[in-house]
């Protein structure tokens, strides 16, 4: 029997992670609630400055909510593999280590995308922003690109810090600077969608996010083998 290719192996890992999450659902619920809480806190901080301030800061606050929620979500992605030497079990399977990375990164992207249907409507309500159908589609596309850009390095560093002392301290310390380029581009792009784009700059910011997605997904896929072999 021939060994399945990288794509099928990755999809199998993705299926495993989604099935695990579906049986529990605690992670998604906690992360969504956390995201809503971040949005509420920012609106409390800026609310007394007037509606205009809320509208101007909406894009940035939405990205920060996604970013902070992603840290919480990503930290959990290798927690399940800690129990009963599950990671060694995965590595003993006839799979490429890269397929573990791509499967988990896809699952993490999925969880971050799952935040959008809640966080975007909450933002429009609390921050008093009105979005047309085109803007909603633009935000959805940008969200997917940003989620992919956060998930790839996040998965690598979650694997890297697993079983390390003070994982909770190290993970944000290592991950935050790495995610700043994607965050900056997403904040700019969200701002252009919310406030209008008279100079036609949206496509260049989107290209930048996609460029980082490609770099991170390729580079992290190659490096993951070293990380996971050391962790096991």
């Amino acid at each position: 029997m021939s060994r399945p290719g990288l794509a099928r192996q990755s999809l199998a890992i993705l299926g495993k992670d989604l099935a695990l999450e579906w049986r529990n659902r605690a992670r998604v619920v906690a992360v969504v609630l956390f995201g809503v809480l971040v949005l509420l806190l920012f609106s409390l901080a800026f609310g007394d400055k007037g509606t205009q301030v809320l509208q101007v800061t909406a894009g940035g606050c939405l990205v920060i909510a996604l970013f902070l929620s992603s840290t919480l979500s990503l930290q959990e992605s290798f927690r399940t593999e800690d129990h009963d030497d599950a990671l060694e079990g995965l590595l003993l399977l006839p799979t490429e280590p890269a397929s573990i990375f791509y499967g988990k990164a896809l699952a993490n992207t999925f969880f971050l995308v799952a935040l959008a249907p809640v966080l975007i409507p909450v933002t429009t309500l609390i921050y008093q922003v009105s979005l047309g159908p085109t803007q909603v589609l633009q935000i959805a596309g940008l969200w997917l690109a940003a989620a992919a850009g956060l998930a790839a390095p996040g998965t690598l560093y979650a694997g890297l810090t697993t079983r390390l002392k003070s994982q909770d301290v190290l993970m944000p310390l290592l991950l935050f600077p790495l995610e700043v380029p994607v965050l900056l581009a997403t904040v700019k792009a969200f701002g252009l969608v919310f406030d209008g784009d008279p100079m036609g700059q949206l496509s260049s910011w989107t290209q930048l996010i996609v460029a980082f997605d490609v770099i991170y997904w390729c580079l992290c896929g190659v490096l993951f083998r070293f990380v996971v072999e050391e962790a096991a």
């Binding site: 190290l170 310390l173 290592l174 600077p177 700043v180 380029p181 990380v227």
Partner: protein
């Protein structure tokens, strides 16, 4: 040993020559006046900071590729030297920014990416302190160093890609020869001093590992029999 200190001596001699020339023979810049003289330190520090990060990237690939400890030592030495240069780069940049831009700091692309690089590489040094196993420490240092290098081209090209407060790179064609000379001399000076620092740091790291090897076996034996 003597060769190692020769780098330091040459570097110090060059920086004295470059600085004296920059402070006396070189003319003040037309718009900024004498304040511009800090560029003879700031720009060479910036060039060498990026160069040392490039060295760290190369050493990290070699460490991951060969698994040899000497490359991990070299990577660590380069990262530490790069972090020192990065702090100096940001510090001299802020001193220059206050009289010229009117502010100590701005979230400009080059300043932001330079600060991110400092946090990146300082975080790698923090990561190392949490890992006891030398092999795992070497692998994770190399992986994080390779991925952190993504920021370095952004520091260099960011001012061209985005409109930013920080000016784009100058070239010898756009500068007076009397300004190019101290800049070049100081660039080599900082390079020699950086190599000296890296060699010293590598020697300390090697001695530390050797002393660990001497101390650890009896401890491990004791733990194994306990």
């Amino acid at each position: 040993m003597k060769k190692m200190h020769a780098f330091g001596l040459v570097g110090l001699a060059l920086i004295i020559v470059g600085s004296i020339y920059g402070l006396t023979a070189s003319p003040p810049e037309r718009h900024m006046g004498d304040v511009s003289r800090i560029l003879y330190v700031h720009v060479p520090t910036a060039w060498n900071c990026l160069l040392i990060y490039l060295f760290a990237f190369g050493f990290a690939i070699a460490s991951l590729w060969t698994g040899k400890q000497r490359w991990d030592i070299a990577t660590t030495a380069a990262i530490e030297t790069g972090v020192v240069l990065n702090i100096l780069l940001l510090g001299t940049g802020m001193i220059f920014a206050k009289p010229t831009w009117g502010i100590w700091w701005d979230w400009d692309v080059r300043l932001t990416t330079s600060l991110i690089a400092l946090i990146f590489y300082a975080a790698i040094l923090a990561l190392r302190t949490f890992i006891d196993d030398p092999n795992r420490r070497a692998t994770l240092t190399a992986v994080t160093c390779i991925i952190s290098f993504v920021d370095v081209p952004l520091i260099y090209f960011g001012v061209r890609w985005w409109r930013s407060l920080h000016q784009i790179q100058s070239s010898p064609e756009t500068m007076a020869e009397t300004m190019v000379f101290p800049m070049r001399v100081n660039a080599f000076a900082v390079l020699f001093i950086s190599i000296w620092f890296m060699l010293l740091r590598a020697r300390i790291e090697r001695s530390k590992l050797e002393s660990d090897e001497v101390v650890e076996p009896p401890v491990r034996r004791a733990m194994a029999t306990a």
